[in-house]
Symmetry: C2
Subunit: 259 residues, 2 copies
DNA sequence: CTTGACCTTGACGCTGGGTCAACCCTCCAT
DNA sequence: ATGGAGGGTTGACCCAGCGTCAAGGTCAAG
């Protein structure tokens, strides 16, 4: 006959755990000797080891009880199910490992790969790190609000970057992004942007996107919030008869303000 | 700006969890809008996703806080450590899977492989299943009390089984193990056992074991508890001048009771 | 007889939130 | 303007699976 600590040690559990199993009725209370000590037999060892095998597999104790007190085919089914969960858990941990490695490598897990690639392309064009951080934050906000649109938006952005004028536009954002009203470069930016807009209108791309108004508003306001100079550039373009940013519109000539 | 549910959804957590992180100071409380709603920016998204990445890896939230607020080399070390734990956990789960498979196959995980092999050999000799269960339980009790001796004991048992007389002895245990005083077969068993003992004495094996007295007592009492007929056989042998079971002793001739 | 290692019951603590409850804010359709 | 849906807010209680005292009774050895 065994004492509780012998039983516990052999099964690889603590004495406290064994008593817990008694309390919840998972392991039957054994006989006591004359001094009140519990005395265990081989059946208790077998049961306890089964309990641990299942519990180690992550099975809640209540289900362990069900399984151990069920018929053999029910037991086999349950074990099958548990094994499936174990395999899934192992895969999950492997995924966690790779995410952890990416986190340690300094990757921004807050954004889908497409956006990361886009930002890398900007960086490759010589765009300053401070501006890229602004863009990154803006894309995070957009991705958080419309996660399923982000890939198609980024695809459009990539197309835009195929245009050398657009590349020139971005190169303005190199270095300090602290634009101030009166900076003469703002006019240069506006000139480039206007050329791009004209080309877009000529190519019939205006109004050709599949995004709804609400989303266009989101893009515009996010970009305006993040890029301080954008407001000033937009003001100039507005004088020249343009409206919009994400979606370009030409204001009718008769409503143009006097230049 | 994001609401709490947008933030939570994007990071793949519940609103409740985000508020929990605020309460424990893991994620800073953001500004509120005029109606008291929390408004989140991109930095919160980044921080929350980092929290989740670490928490998914099983890191307790208190340590997550430490890590995120620490320097880069401390962070890298911590991640290294976590990844080590993850690998260990994956190996543990794979071990659990194999134990689970053995459990489902009806194996007795309560005994080391050596004992299982020994019992299989008995089964192969035609020993009855009921007796084998008795032996199994006895070995479980012994293994639980002296786990590091069990392998050498079993090795001795295997040697014994090389003797045809011992095999004959075991074959008596086939079928019902309910021995009763007066059963003539008990004398047969005693005869065989005596032959074995004489041979052991002649081979100089008596007293040649490396086990201490306490352990010999344990073996004897366990076997006597489990095998009901053993007592009767031992009584006959005692009359013939033998003592012991695990460790054989020849009682000096002058102390022999009259036969 | 003492000492130290066990045994007993009982109660509280811990992680990481889930799950109400009770109430406020905003927006949209009527 | 009104009512309802669908957000948001705090607060309080609840869970598993034990760990960790606390406050003693028992056993074996010296």
């Amino acid at each position: 006959m065994l004492t509780i600590s012998q039983l516990a040690a052999y099964a690889g559990v603590t004495v406290r755990a064994v008593r817990h199993y008694h309390k919840i009725g998972l392991l039957p209370e054994p006989e006591r000797d004359r001094s009140g000590y519990r005395t265990y037999d081989a059946a208790a060892v077998v049961r306890l080891i089964r309990i641990r095998t299942l519990a180690d597999a992550g099975v809640p104790l209540a289900k362990v009880q069900e399984l151990l007190d069920a018929g053999p085919e029910e037991f086999a089914d349950g074990v099958q199910e548990i094994d499936k969960d174990l395999r899934a858990e192992i895969r999950r941990l492997q995924g966690t490992r790779s995410r952890l490695a990416r986190l340690a490598a300094g990757e921004h897990l807050a954004l889908p790969q497409s956006v990361v690639d886009y930002l890398d392309r900007l960086r490759g064009l010589g765009v300053g790190e401070r501006y890229i951080e602004l863009e990154r934050d803006a894309w995070i906000m957009i991705a958080a609000q419309v996660p399923d649109l982000i890939d198609s938006v980024i695809a459009k952005k990539h197309e835009e970057l195929d245009d050398p004028d657009m590349v020139r536009l971005y190169s303005f954002f190199t270095g300090e992004p602290d634009w101030r009203a009166g900076d003469p470069r703002i006019v240069e930016v506006a000139d480039i942007l206007e050329r791009l807009m004209i080309r877009a209108v000529e190519a019939g791309e205006v109004g050709a996107d599949d995004f709804d108004d609400q989303f266009v508003d989101l893009m515009d306001s996010t970009m305006l919030e993040s890029a301080p100079g954008a407001e000033l550039v937009l003001a100039i373009l507005k004088e020249r008869g343009w409206r919009g940013w994400t979606r370009i519109e030409r204001v009718p000539a008769d409503r143009l303000p006097p230049s």
